[in-house]
């Protein structure tokens, strides 16, 4: 569940959100976007948690890969639903990962 990312530098998209009430098709679309993201060129991994506030961090090998994913037509539909129905607030931060360390089972 902790993403196994390569040696930096690479890129991260931090997506922070507060949900509206009710599901409104969110769970299904969320799972679909998760699967679709994994198929994109340059995708490196994803980490997600929600307890009131939701945080999803996806990792990518370049800014171009992030831009291509943002422009994916199915993803664009999900973005529209997100703004209109699922999120009362959200914030997206595009970052360059410069250093990484820690302890995971794979090391």
């Amino acid at each position: 569940m902790i993403a196994q990312t390569p040696k930096p530098p690479y890129y991260a998209v931090i997506f922070t959100s507060l949900r509206t009430e009710g599901d409104n098709g969110y769970a299904e679309m969320s799972q679909r976007m998760d699967e679709l993201a994994r198929e994109q060129p340059g995708y490196l991994g994803i980490e997600s948690a929600r307890s009131g506030l939701g945080i999803t961090v996806s990792y990518w090998d370049s800014l171009e890969a992030i831009q291509n994913w943002k422009r994916n037509s199915e993803h664009q539909m999900a973005q529209t639903y997100g703004r209109d129905k699922w999120y009362s607030q959200f914030r997206i931060r595009i970052c360059k990962v410069e250093r990484e360390y820690g302890r995971t089972n794979e090391e």
Copy 2:
């Protein structure tokens, strides 16, 4: 709960973790570290969620501020406990936030 950060560039520390069983003093120390972080020079905000996987993102105005916080003596004690008692796995990623957008109540 979504951090109100300034116009990029600034820095983010993405801390991803899996907990061990039991509290072992974690809740109290976690709250104390949250309070202590807010008092540090260069602190910009914090966002946190856990659902199995835990993700905490703290925001800082410089790499120096992140380094100073890492070296804080009380925080160093917490880091030792974290490695020894609280986390079965963890990963820390130091990032430069290059772009930010979204919709929050403050805008």
